[in-house]
Subunit: 198 residues, 2 copies
DNA sequence: GGCAATAATATGACCGGTCGTCTCGAATGT
DNA sequence: ACATTCGAGACGACCGGTCATATTATTGCC
């Protein structure tokens, strides 16, 4: 079928609502009834679409990261001659979005890594995959910047991608409790604007 | 009274058990009954000692960070002539402990910042205070290292303390899902062994 | 000091609600 | 006609929180 089936529509809206609510209230803090009520899907249907809350969580994780991959990819393509600038502008856009949300939520991946990253096998694997997809994209951007001479060569692109991702996650946590974008701005400044420079 | 009252003993063991369980299962993932059963304290007593789960959480946070403050303070005093070395040895000790726990738990502060850092005012304030106490201690260690010439001077000690703390938190999240100490080791290597060097 | 009166604290059964999950008849598609 | 999917509601367990009662301390009086 070309038009999505009702099942696919329902799955999609549950996942989308799941992203919002898991971000706001965490995994254990969010009840399925709450998600189902928000999108007006009967409770009984849930287990037809997803087998369990845990599986749902794992799918929500993937559904969450997709737009970020797309967005970063777009910035890298758009700034083809200046990969570092593309990365910087991507993070600037993220920061603007965080400020618009008044520093609520942060990053679903970070929140769930902390909450259930070591208690749910299914979600752990989904988190690994999501983080790796994102990290690899950052890595390729940084590698291109290395070729362009805007980023130091004596550290591997992968090592820097990991460092950027980790510091960003930590800075998002600080942002949440300080209700300020200073930590995330500082993160970009310290790494992209200093440590990664040749 | 010199000997602690029964109330104080009970409070203490609840807080101690709370640290363990909130670390393992998160805030919403841990029920009060579970905590109370583990230390054999009746449910009714809980609300005499702490007014609510939220207040309990806020106290658990402080109870959690105290030993880390003590431990880092000890390392800084012990390595008086080499503050940077003291900080490095402190983190080495933390890493050894994390490996002993098979990478479970991570840091309670990080986990709770992500889970409830923007939904519970009381816990948010407690998290702020705990993180700031820890950051200020790191900052004073780094400042001393600056005086000793082992750390660069063109960045403030506070900025570096924030960066170290944030990257450490992010690395702990990665550690949890990758079940490996590589991220935290890399964190220390990148910052203490490279970026902070003069 | 001995003892009743009073205050303070400890307790666990119990509250309404929500949790994640499952059952089974109804609806749907072929 | 039949296989598959759906969905209303029920399931027992557990949630955070309350409260009347039981126990223990403290006080005041003789």
């Amino acid at each position: 079928m070309l038009t999505p089936t009702k099942k696919e529509i329902n799955r999609e809206s549950l996942l989308s609502q799941g992203v919002t609510m898991l971000m706001e209230q965490g995994y254990h803090g969010t009840g399925l009834q709450q998600v189902l009520a928000a999108v007006n899907i009967p409770k009984g249907s849930f287990y037809n679409y997803f087998g369990s809350k845990e599986n749902f969580g794992a799918e929500v994780i993937q559904h969450y990261i997709d737009p970020f991959i797309t967005q970063l990819t777009a910035h890298l393509q758009q700034s083809d001659k200046d990969a570092l600038g593309g990365i910087q502008r991507y993070f600037d856009e993220l920061i603007a979005e965080l400020e618009k949300n008044r520093f609520k939520g942060g990053c679903l991946l970070g929140n769930l890594m902390g909450e259930i990253g070591d208690t749910s096998d299914v979600c752990q694997k989904s988190l690994q995959s999501a983080v790796n997809r994102y990290r690899d994209l950052l890595k390729s951007g940084l590698a291109k910047a290395q070729q362009q001479g805007t980023v130091r060569l004596d550290k591997s692109a992968e090592e820097m991608a990991d460092l950027l991702l980790n510091t960003w996650q930590g800075a998002l946590l600080r942002m949440k409790i300080e209700k300020s974008s200073a930590p995330v701005k500082q993160c970009c400044q310290d790494l992209l604007g200093d440590f990664f420079k040749p």
